[in-house]
Structures are given as C-alpha cells and as structure tokens.
C-alpha cells in the first residue's frame, strides 16, 4: 500500500488572533480545512499526530477527544521546526504498514510575545539554566553569532543575506495568507533596527498565531489529482552534539542517501521549501543538500534566490508569512503540497512536479539539533 498526502490546510496566521482563539481552536480550524481539501469526513480519520508548544497541559489524546476523533494510531510530536516532517515520516510508515488508513497531522500554536518569552526561557533544561540568565530572549542572539561565523567562512555581507527575506517577500505578495505582504526593498532591510548584530528585524521571523494540517492516507483516498507522494525522506538528530560551529546541519550527513533514494538530484526539483528561521539557515541547508555545487554561496544567493529562478519558500516562508510556533515546521510542507496540486493561485510554479522540503529545529544549546528533508512528487507520482 502506498501513502500519499491527500489534503492540506492552514488556519489563518495573525499577529493578534480573533478573541476566543485558543491553540485547540486553531488546530481544529486547520484540521477542518485539510479534511475539506481532502474531501474526507472526520469519521474517515483513524490516525492523529499533534505538535504544539502551547497545547499544554493537553496532548494528542485530549485533542482527539475535543475533535471527536477515535483514532487507532496516535502520536505526540515535540520537534518544533522539524515537527511537520517528523509527523509525515511516521504517518507514511503507519499507512504503508496498514496500521492506519488516514492520518491527520496537526501543528500549531497560539501564544503572544509574553508566551513566546516564557517558552524560550524554559525551552529545555539547558536553556533554563545556561541561556535564560544571560539573558538571551530566544534564539536571535545565537543565530546572530552563527551568522557571523557563516559570513566569515563565505565572505558574505548583509546584502547577501538580504536575498532571502527580499525574495521571500516578493513571493508573499501573492499569498493572501502571509501576514507581511508589502514590498521590501534592500534599503528597508538594511535600515531596519538591529536585533542582534548582524541580524536586523527582517532577519527574524515574526511571532504569529496559527496552525497547519495535512492528511496522509492510503493513496486510494487521493482525489482526481492523485495526491502528493513521498519519493524519499531522511532525517538526522544531534549530528554534532552542539560542539560544531553550526555551519552545516544533519542534512549534510543524509543528502547523498536522500537523493539516491529519490532517484533525482537537486537540479531536478521544481521548487523548495527550506526551513527559514533565519536567512543563514536557508543558504546553509541548500548547501548541505548540494544545491550550491561550486560552493559559491554569494553567487548562488544572487543568481538563484534574488532572481527567484529557483522557487524557494513561495508562500513567503516564515520570514513573511509568520512563524506560528510549531506550525512553522509544517508551513512549508503545506505550501509545497499546494504547489504540487496546482493550488497556489497567483504564485503557482508552472508544471511543478517535484519539491524538496526541509525541517530544522530544536535549539539544544547553540544551534538546532533536528533536521529532516523530503522529496515530494505531485500527480500521485504517476
């Protein structure tokens, strides 16, 4: 039996969500949209996976109850920026082993900036003990230090990193779901207040509320378009024990195997969703995965990203659409599914058939420890 992504949905992202919005209602909103997109009823769902920081003290089983679902396969996911891909990997295995026929995967958070502050200070035991007292206020300062290392290693300046948020803002203009859609010029980027040098306001994801959902099911559930199938997926956790410089991710260790299993190379994908918590991470993951064959990061950024010749993060990504907590780890997956199913009106990549999506996250101390990448194919892979 072959699994496919047969539906996707996104609860609206918002800086200030409407009164009465809770994490559970946002997750339910995304779920309802994904089921409608898949043309399925709640009774068709027999598997549930949930990722959220702000759903606590509730878990997946509480949400199953609140959504009226009676699954026979259940998963609590805690992988932050890798949550969407991690749930996908497990859900596909569950469907292909016959343990479930249709798995609803949900990721989302509703928390204000005060909630975000509490989250990052108690993100894990090491953050609570060694980062919160500095203070650090979240990962911005850590990735400022990492960006300095990357800039020195590749001879890059702020104008080079700007290619990521500027090109993504250009894509966001055609995505009504993006929170920030106004054109962004290089001068605006360079003149914006610094958050932690060299990172300015437009290098840091805006915290929003929202949720995303996908339905992973037996391909028999797919609609006329055949659904989106998984060519290959590989993941890596704790690749460097936090003792490296953070200038490559676990993706570097699985890239060769991923492309071999997918039977395509980076030059054959039609679009990419690359986890964009910071511009440096987009460049670095693309390099890990072999997109920058000659290692000239600056040339790649200007020739492929600034021109949008390689469609990367076509929703605007988290940098323009917003980071709705854990939903950030599924947002780019939903966008890739929409592109591969021809649902990205206004920003649709012509003849999009193959997409690469990555997840990256869970800063243990100095940088993220979780990486995953998947090669997706539209049209049911036919």
């Amino acid at each position: 039996m072959r699994a496919a992504i047969v539906g996707s949905g996104e609860a609206p992202y918002a800086r200030r969500p409407p009164a009465g919005t809770t994490t559970a209602t946002a997750l339910a909103d995304a779920a309802t949209r994904a089921l409608a997109d898949a043309n399925l009823k709640p009774a068709d769902i027999d598997g549930l996976a949930v990722a959220s920081f702000s759903l606590a003290p509730d878990h997946a089983i509480d949400l199953a109850w609140q959504l009226g679902l009676k699954p026979r396969w259940l998963m609590d996911e805690c992988g932050g920026g890798v949550a969407g891909l991690n749930m996908l990997q497990h859900a596909v295995a569950a469907v292909e082993r016959g343990e479930a026929r249709a798995v609803l995967c949900l990721a989302g958070d509703v928390m204000g900036s005060a909630g975000f502050g509490r989250l990052v200070d108690s993100f894990n035991s090491v953050a609570r003990r060694y980062l919160a007292p500095l203070p650090h206020g979240g990962p911005n300062a850590l990735f400022a230090l990492l960006t300095q290392r990357h800039a020195a290693a590749h001879g890059l300046g702020r104008e080079d990193y700007a290619t990521v948020p500027l090109s993504q803002r250009a894509w966001a203009a055609a995505n009504p779901g993006a929170v920030y859609r106004d054109p962004l010029a290089l001068k605006d980027y360079l003149d914006a207040p610094l958050v932690a040098d060299p990172l300015g306001r437009f290098d840091c994801v805006p915290v929003v509320s929202g949720a995303n959902a996908i339905v992973v099911a037996d391909a028999a559930f797919a609609g006329a378009d055949g659904g989106v199938v998984i060519r290959a997926q590989r993941s890596s956790f704790n690749a460097d024990g936090q003792q490296g410089e953070g200038l490559s991710t676990g993706l570097a260790t699985i890239a060769e195997e991923l492309w071999a299993a997918a039977a395509v190379g980076p030059d054959e994908v039609d679009l990419a969703g690359v986890y964009d918590d910071y511009p440096v991470m987009v460049l670095l993951q693309l390099q890990d995965l072999g997109f920058i064959a000659d290692g000239d990061v600056r040339r790649f950024a200007h020739e492929w990203l600034a021109t949008r010749d390689l469609p990367v993060n076509t929703s605007g990504g988290q940098l323009s659409a917003g980071q709705a907590g854990t939903a950030g780890g599924m947002h780019l997956l939903v966008e890739a599914v929409r592109q591969l199913r021809g649902q990205a009106a206004g920003r649709q990549v012509e003849r999009a058939r193959l997409a690469l999506v990555t997840g990256y996250g869970m800063v243990l101390y100095r940088h993220g420890a979780c990486s995953s990448a998947v090669v997706l194919e539209g049209g049911g892979g036919g």
Binding site: F116, G117, L134, P135, G137, N140, A141, V195, A196, Q243
Partner: protein
C-alpha cells in the same frame, strides 16, 4: 573578579571534556565524571542583543560565543573589555547564575 570559575566535566574513563554536562559520555558511554576548572578560551564572536520579545530588555546585553582551549563551546555574557578574538576566563555570576566571559588576567 568575583565570579567563581566555571567547571566543565571530564570523563574518568576516556578523558573527554564536556559542557554543558551530559549524562553519558558522548565518546565512550561511561557515566563517571570529574569536575575540573574550565580554563581559558577565546571569545570567537560577539553580538549585542538589543531587542527581545515579551518583557523586553532593560539595556542591550553583549553576548559571546566562546571556544574553550579544552574543547567545549559555550555562550556567555561578555564583560566590559572583551573583544572578538580575545582570550577570556569564564565565570559564573553569583547573582543570577549566568556564564560571564571576562578578559583573561
């Protein structure tokens, strides 16, 4: 200088030096650690954190990525006078428990 020097842990089986202290040795899997002074390091990069979400900052704070000569990498508040590339000693602030990088004596 009133901050006590930071301690790192050293594996009693294989000599691996680690920080923050893990449970099992990442090199040999043993669970027998000795505590030793962190020793000097280099402040490899510095940034000034100016804005944070939520409660905000009373004033900007300078943070340093430090690589200890003994191996481990850490993040510390940078005391006045610490510059990128300079040699530092890492202490623990007695008031708030933060790691503080100070110019090495």
């Amino acid at each position: 200088m009133n901050a006590a020097e930071l301690a790192v842990v050293v594996c009693c089986e294989c000599g691996q030096v680690a920080f923050p202290p893990p449970v099992l040795c990442p090199a040999c899997g043993a669970r027998n650690w000795a505590s030793e002074p962190a020793g000097p390091g280099i402040a490899e990069q510095l940034t000034e954190l100016r804005r944070v979400a939520g409660a905000g900052l009373e004033q900007p704070v300078r943070l340093a990525a430090v690589r200890l000569r003994r191996g481990p990498a850490l993040v510390a508040r940078a005391a006045p006078g610490v510059e990128a590339g300079g040699t530092v000693r890492v202490g623990v602030d007695p008031d708030d428990g933060a790691l503080v990088a100070e110019v090495a004596p």
